[in-house]
Amino acid sequence: MRKTVWAVTGFFVLTGFRWGTVDIGRKAAENQKTSLDAKSENGALSLLPTGQHLGYIAGFESFPPATEAAVRSAQTQAIAKGMRVARVQTDWSALEISPGVFNKTNLENQLSALRAANLKPFLTLTTADSDTFELPADLMDPSDSQKLKAGLTLDSPTVVARFNDLMDWVVPLLVSNGGWGLSIANEPGTLIDDGHLSAFEMANFARSARSHIQSLDSRLAVTVTMRYQEVLVSAAYLPSIIAACDVACFNYYPQDPNFYVESTSTVSGRVAALLQAADGKEMVIQEVGCPGGYEGVTPTNIGGSLSRQSAFFHEFINQMAARPKLRAAFVFQMVDWSSGLTNGFLGGLPPAPWVEAVRETMRTLGLLRYEDGTSRPALAEFYAGVERFKN
């Protein structure tokens, strides 16, 4: 018996072995890392930590004290459960206050705060934002936010050169703070559908911007954020814009054209359709949200409810987990819009069912209620998703 033990030992000593069980675990993990590294060299999100990620944007306004405390607590809990990504959004017009004069402070503060929290940011820097352009004032038509100055288009050499100057400091700032992705327009399809922007201009601008950004740092993924409705209607301009990007990026809300909350059973098909539109590229969901609807009102204008909001996030996270190319998704938003922000957004629009549907959507979109910071049940689904994608 002893001879047999020594013979077996001698054989392994001569042919190779590992010291300690932990070492074979290490080797298996390194094999996995090698495979993933090879994959990411062919993919665009090389600065995003491996795996899938859930994050959120808190909101675009200041909150009452109790709500502010709840937001901080939610961030602490999400980080403890494994959240590693965050989102920042700003407009070009807010960064370049006059030609060649930049206000860097706000962006620097936001990015450094995220870095201190060990969160890696995705930056949405809007040139177009839904139904308006967000270029510096001297490049805009002074009387119409849907038009550029006479003689300019988004892909004019003048506009591209000015945007490149902006990128010369934004890109190093973003990457040095852990940034991994940059969207240069949010929902430009609205301007395209309304005839204020051509798809060719948008794609041309994206190609020019991407080329310059990647001359500054080739690892930073550049994209344009599109709406999921454009996938549903097979918008003709969608493929050319996605082709100009490193990754596909969408905003997704489970609501029909009347803002009525869709059945949870539609989520699987919607996510599959988004990935099909991504045409083989990796995908980021910049905004994913579902309104909880007014509480104590049955039925609500939009068919929302706390249980439907929870069920949506539960199913979305299931569908995301089944599709590794969907690399990151950000809840929009952690907090409802306030009545003040909603009224400002809706402006002086006359009362109409769709206006009230939008109002209810924005007022109940959060995982936390604006007024007191109390949480909706969907917050637990978000936390569970963060834990599920922790690696």
Binding site: R2, T9, G20, I24, R26, A29, K33
Partner: protein, 135 residues
């Protein structure tokens, strides 16, 4: 109790059976110079047969769970399974030295459709401090 290469363990012997809980860790630099840390927790069960008054041979099974992380933000976790045969030599006092070898498999959880696995011979060695050992 035992000091392992590399780690610590605590175990219990009864009627020629031995049961052990182990914690192993290692850190260093991977191929491209990136720092890494690996930690493993495992349980073992082994049947021993005395060969002489101070020597016994044993064979058993081990199941473990490990985590692995690198400085460049890669993290994964997985499990190990293995079988082994070994020799334990008892010295004066409470000390003994155990040395075993056998085939092991390790596999990681899937990330982005990729998982890692490895099958290889593993040697485990330990210096044990035995409480109340029968002479």
């Amino acid at each position: 109790m035992a000091v392992l290469w590399p780690g610590l363990s605590i175990g219990y012997r009864a009627f020629n059976w031995a049961y052990e809980g182990r914690w192993q860790f290692m850190g260093g630099h991977a191929d491209k110079g990136t720092g890494y840390n690996a930690t493993l927790g495992s349980v073992r069960a082994a049947r021993g047969v005395p060969l002489a008054r101070t020597t016994r041979v044993y064979a058993g099974l081990e199941a473990g769970w490990f985590t692995y992380s690198t400085d460049d933000d890669f993290r994964t976790k997985g499990m190990t399974l293995g079988a082994y045969v070994g020799l334990e030599k008892f010295f004066k006092g409470p000390f003994s030295f155990a040395f075993d070898i056998g085939p092991y498999w390790a596999g990681t959880r899937e990330i982005q459709g990729e998982s890692g696995s490895e099958f290889d011979a593993v040697i485990n060695a330990a210096v044990r401090w035995n409480f109340g050992r029968e002479k």
